[in-house]
């Protein structure tokens, strides 16, 4: 099977702070790959570099065979993404959000309409298609984002903590959608999460990153055997230690806080 993502000696410095330190990994076409790590380990930074949002300091990336720096548009056409923070337009309806995405990705009109209907039915939002997104719950918004990300038939689907803040029922549902789309559309899935048991359940392969360095990678089974653990969670703690990671509040955390307050 060919590699759809190739990362070699990837490094990112932020004014002297090394967020990602010379990491290398491969993701095979069609697999579900989990990228795990404690807070501020470098997960989101890596996802941003893979998805053309951030320029690496050093190292090589190939996404679907293209370099994000020299061929950003080819890379962008290759993936769909669900961000950690919601990225829908609240003042538009579910259908309009889908339609805007389709136009931005130049999906021809007839295919666009057909795919929007199919995907909205798939995530069970078709009967709410004309409602403004601001009336949706957190789980509904996530489902809509998943449907939207698949609209242009990407080869790779990135999810950055897709189930954060959702209840078990919704989380379960969301993984079922993603697994089904992974099977049906042969889309490679690359995700980060704090819920290690989710990775244990759905991922074919896992990489664990800590302080910007990949400390282990392999199938969940391999990692459990390596650390002689009964669960991936236990293996994760053995590999990354028990200390709590202190994070400095960045601009983004202040924005998140304001957003919570304004919602009330």
């Amino acid at each position: 099977m060919k590699n759809i993502i190739e990362v070699k000696n990837l490094t990112k410095n932020f004014n002297g702070f090394v967020a990602v330190n010379s990491i290398s990994f491969l993701v095979k076409e069609g697999e579900i790959f989990a990228f795990l790590g404690p807070n501020s380990a470098g997960k989101t930074t890596t996802v941003k570099m893979l998805t053309t949002l951030l320029k690496p300091t050093r190292g090589e990336i190939r996404v679907n065979g293209y370099d994000p720096i020299t061929h950003p548009h080819n890379v962008r056409r290759s993936f769909g993404i669900v961000f950690q923070d919601q990225s829908l337009d609240d003042e538009l309806t579910a259908y309009e959000n889908m339609e805007f995405h389709g136009i931005l990705y130049q999906v021809p009109k007839d295919i666009r309409q057909e795919r929007i209907e199919k995907l909205l039915k798939f995530v069970e939002l078709w009967n709410r298609k004309d409602d403004l997104v601001k009336h949706f719950s957190g789980g509904m918004k996530r489902r809509l984002e998943i449907a939207r990300g698949f609209l242009h038939q990407p080869k790779i689907f990135f999810l950055d903590e897709p189930t954060l803040g959702l209840d078990s029922q919704t989380r379960n549902h969301i993984w079922n959608y993603i697994k089904e789309l992974n099977g049906k559309e042969k889309t490679t899935v690359f995700f980060t999460t704090h819920y290690i048991e989710e990775a244990d359940r759905v991922a074919n392969r896992v990489a664990i990153i800590d302080n910007g360095i990949i400390v282990a990678q392999g199938s969940p089974q391999e990692l459990k055997e390596l650390t002689q653990s009964s669960s991936l969670e236990e293996a994760f703690l053995k590999l990354t230690g028990h200390t709590i990671r202190e994070e400095e509040a960045a601009a983004i955390d202040r924005l998140r806080m304001r957003r919570k307050i304004m919602r009330r």
Binding site: N74, R76, L104, I252
Partner: protein, 248 residues
């Protein structure tokens, strides 16, 4: 092209759907027109200035435009974290089209707001001298809107969060408004303030509006037009450059 259109359309849809915002942002210009217009009217008349509402209305229209325009530019700060902007930044669309779509959308919305305030000022007693010149006035409205949306976008590309917002409000927007000749004539001001007003792009928008609505252009309509057009060009260039450098 379709990307620019869809981003423009999105701004228009959002504007038309937020009735509360439209009505809310009419409050301030209305207050200025009524409180200042009728409050200072008699003094202005006695000082030989003529009808103050006639003088004030173009200034208040310009004010409502710059508020809406700068805000819609600044929205990017918010949007790049929680909104459609992030979604557009990973789409196969050039940064220039994203910035153009947003700026044109914001400018259209600000112009609509300016036109609404124009109609409101008619109720307050304002009378434009010539219907023939109205299309020209709309051109100035749009130029003014474009200029300050591009300005807002440029600032927003430099800021990480909303912390600097008050700073911009009190040290940029308010001074621009007060030293533009929107509220009082620039003739007879101390030399320093005259120079400040001369350097303020809003002065030319106010002057252009006054010229087309009540025939009171001080700098001349052609001067106003060209100065505004050049500044729009410069700000759009700076704005696109800064916007293209945004990393999330």
């Amino acid at each position: 092209m379709s990307a620019i259109y869809i981003l423009w359309l999105r701004q228009i849809k959002r504007y038309l759907r937020s009735r509360a915002r439209i009505i809310g942002s009419l409050g301030q210009p209305l207050l200025f027109l009524i409180a200042l217009g009728f409050g200072f009217g008699p003094i202005y008349q006695r000082a030989g200035g003529g009808n103050y509402i006639q003088f004030l209305a173009p200034g208040v229209i310009a004010m409502s435009i710059i508020f809406v325009a700068i805000f819609s530019g600044l929205e990017i700060i918010w949007d790049r974290q929680f909104g459609f902007l992030k979604e557009t930044l990973v789409a196969p669309v050039s940064r220039l089209s994203i910035m153009m779509g947003r700026t044109l959308g914001g400018a259209t919305v600000a112009s609509m707001q300016g036109i609404i305030v124009f109609f409101v000022s008619l109720i307050a007693g304002f009378r434009p001298v010539s219907v023939m010149l109205l299309p020209l006035a709309f051109i100035f409205i749009f130029l003014c809107a474009l200029l300050f949306t591009a300005f807002g976008t440029a600032i927003a590309s430099l800021l990480e969060d909303m912390q600097g917002f008050q700073l911009i409000m009190n040290f940029v927007i308010m001074p621009l408004f007060f030293f533009s000749g929107a509220l009082f004539p620039l003739q007879g001001l101390p030399k320093t303030l005259q120079v400040v007003a001369r350097l303020n792009p809003l002065s030319y928008a106010v002057d252009g509006l006054r010229g087309t609505l009540v025939n009171g252009a001080r700098f001349g309509l052609m001067t106003d037009f060209w100065i505004l057009a050049i500044i729009v060009g410069v700000l759009m260039t700076i704005g696109s450059y800064l916007f293209s450098k945004i990393q999330i």
